[in-house]
């Protein structure tokens, strides 16, 4: 079973990458782009485990390591 973790930077925390991409898109001619946020996804594969286990294990991984609560939120989706 695989889980997809989406890690998003908390909205009040700066996103220099998003800001830089936005500027570049405007330069490229897309003047109406008014916001870009860049996030990361982490796909974790845990074969032979059931959904409940995977969800709780991946949640624990996020709490401990995959996400940093000072700046990030996370969401977990089971991919099956």
């Amino acid at each position: 079973m695989r889980a997809l973790v989406t890690i998003t930077r908390r909205p009040e925390i700066a996103d220099p990458e998003g800001a830089t991409i936005q500027r570049a898109l405007v330069d490229l001619g897309y003047g109406d782009v008014d916001g870009v946020r860049v996030n990361r996804t982490i796909e974790v594969s845990l074969p032979g485990r059931d959904q409940e286990y995977v969800l709780s294990a991946v949640r624990a991984m996020c709490e401990k390591m995959l996400a940093n609560p000072v700046m990030e939120n996370y969401e977990i989706e089971i991919l099956g």
């Binding site: 930077r9 009040e12 925390i13 700066a14 220099p16 390591m65 000072v70």
Partner: protein, 225 residues
């Protein structure tokens, strides 16, 4: 008095930091991240580099290295713990220091000397410095942009121009409040982005790093029993 220099896989400033402390007459010992005990060590430095390749987030994997439990214990005992650059990032991830570090405002690695103004002498990093003193110390990082994340922070150094004035132009990486160094409440755990060990001999262009490293050395003896 012995300084433990914590080396993770990917750390690269461990020998430079040892060289600098030895130039100040201190004893150092390299400590591999798999160690679990820091017996006989009076204070530790987490040097710069790219622990675990800086993968995931800078410092995020290193904080789980076996040695970190011993580092936390040392910090709790009030002994000096200093993170330089990548080491600062590890201490933030480990929760020993508040806030965190993200990519530089311009998304470029920055390697050049910068000016920092001493905000407070109340830490193992700054006790030998005068408040308001402006130091020239090389910066060397991609993820040096400090954010408080809303936490209360004790600021030790801020980026300024040579005259000690804050400005956007003098803030090399976009750090919140131009913060270059912070400490915990007790002042025994501190982290900074610039590299004091790169400013210790005349040919390096500045010897201001000595002031910060001497603060650390002096703190080794000053810890509460």
């Amino acid at each position: 008095m012995s300084i433990g220099i914590i080396t993770f896989p990917g750390t690269n400033c461990e020998r430079d930091v040892a060289y600098a402390f030895e130039a100040l007459g201190a004893d150092t010992e390299q400590v591999w991240h798999r160690e679990t005990s820091l017996d006989g060590i009076d204070g530790v430095v987490l040097p710069g580099g790219f622990a675990h390749g800086d993968y995931l987030r800078t410092g995020a994997i290193a904080r789980f290295s076996p040695v970190m439990a011993a580092v936390e214990k040392l910090a709790a005992e009030g002994r000096p713990v200093l993170g330089i650059c990548n080491g600062f990032q590890v201490l933030c991830e480990a929760g020993l220091l508040p806030g965190g570090l993200i990519a530089n405002r311009d998304l470029r690695f920055i390697c050049r000397p910068v000016h920092v103004r001493v905000q407070s002498p109340d830490s193992i990093l700054t006790r030998a410095a005068r408040p308001g003193q402006v130091l020239t110390i090389p910066l060397n990082s991609y993820e040096g942009n400090y954010i408080t994340g809303g936490d209360a922070v004790r600021v030790m150094l801020r980026y300024t121009d040579a005259a000690g004035t804050l400005s956007d132009a003098a803030n090399p990486n976009g750090s919140e409040g131009a913060i270059a160094a912070v400490a915990n409440t007790a002042g025994n755990v501190a982290g900074l982005m610039p590299h004091p060990e790169r400013a210790i001999e005349d040919f390096m262009g500045s010897t201001d790093g000595r002031i910060l490293l001497e603060s650390f050395v002096a703190s080794l003896e000053a810890v509460p029993a």
